[in-house]
Symmetry: C2
Subunit: 231 residues, 2 copies
Amino acid sequence: MADKKKICICENCEFRDVVFSYLDESSIDQLCENKEEQAFRKGEVINHEGEKISNFKYLKSGLVKLYRRTSTGEEQVITITRPFEFVSNMSIFSEERYQYSVSALEDSVVCLVKLEFIKELFMRNGGFAMGLLSKISMINDKIIAQTLDIRQKNLIGRVAFVLLYFTNEIYNSRVFDLPVSRKEIADYIGMSTANVIRTLSDFKKEGIIRVFGKTIEVVDLNKLEIISKRG
Amino acid sequence: MADKKKICICENCEFRDVVFSYLDESSIDQLCENKEEQAFRKGEVINHEGEKISNFKYLKSGLVKLYRRTSTGEEQVITITRPFEFVSNMSIFSEERYQYSVSALEDSVVCLVKLEFIKELFMRNGGFAMGLLSKISMINDKIIAQTLDIRQKNLIGRVAFVLLYFTNEIYNSRVFDLPVSRKEIADYIGMSTANVIRTLSDFKKEGIIRVFGKTIEVVDLNKLEIISKRG
DNA sequence: CGCGGCTTTGATGTTCATCAAGTAAAGTGG
DNA sequence: CCACTTTACTTGATGAACATCAAAGCCGCG
């Protein structure tokens, strides 16, 4: 019996530091009983827009995109994000149904906790509530700022922005495999696929990046930053 | 002494229904002691981007715009909003400083509550915390959805959107005085001032709206909705 | 009455989407 | 494992959408 606690993986989960730091041992135990892990393969959908929200979900490992379908039927990518930036959790306290879809860009693991349990915790544990609110606010702020940043730039500025985003925020490396198609980049920055490709070709010709299929190497980070700011 | 409570205006404030509904009499009393009302005249700035956040503020009456300055120095309008949709409150739990500026588009009254007091309430009153989180989430969701909606439309769709926004969300009337300049509309929808004016002129010529200086009458609401959806 | 800011309109050029046609890459079934 | 099919990518040419520039009209305010 004494060993049971030790087995619980939640105790060691990195996410504990982010939101669950205020929970004592018994709450963590409860959390373990109420949670479930789900693995998703690249391309699989984690939440569907319009689906009823019944779980609090966060990304444990992997990479996901948040997106929605516009009234004219195209896909609009809202953001691309890593653990432990949330996944489904954005509207769980304001809406009954998901407003956005989420799908895995790389193989991903998601933790699910019954929404009722989270709400109960939220009600009785002020520290947890504060931590969760801060986290949700931060994520929302980030998305808003990012969307406004993109809106303000022109084509090449936006493409530069995306490359910098992958370099600095997602991979922390100047060399990386693009986890998205050219079309998905286009849907993300609100430009046509053809022009995204054209701009990447231009960057290649100017020696700012090197491209080997899906693999990208950022050669001149500085120039990319100038283009992103000015554009 | 028994009369003192009755004098407290917070007890009757409409905002109580929105977030403070979980507070008992003594908390409301404390709230009264910790709050302050401020009046702003049309054009005055309520928060400055970059300023330190020390109060929880909400709009009691009036109309405000939320905006920021871009890296190239232009003004970018994020949203225009009525009571009791928040004002400064978006990032108070995630940031130390305001990320956006807020200014009054009409004469406005803002209520200020010491941030520490709100945080203390939040910690010890789960219902209050839940109400506040829901409200903040809703506001963030709205802003994100609005920004994405606008991004997806073309020029005339965006102008139609703004007119519908004022008609349906802000004034609940097909006749209203524009509280913003043409340039502010342009900054809101991310288009040039000249083209906003041009589009308004086109709508006028087609008999969709009537314009008398700052006063606008929406004649054909239906056509405006079609343009906004399709655009 | 004159000045300065906001508005309006036209003319011009840039930026970007769209279309089309071709190539590479990635599945799919035998 | 190879032929076949489909999907993603690439490039050029064209036209539409939009910004920018400039000049003129309007309105409020001192």
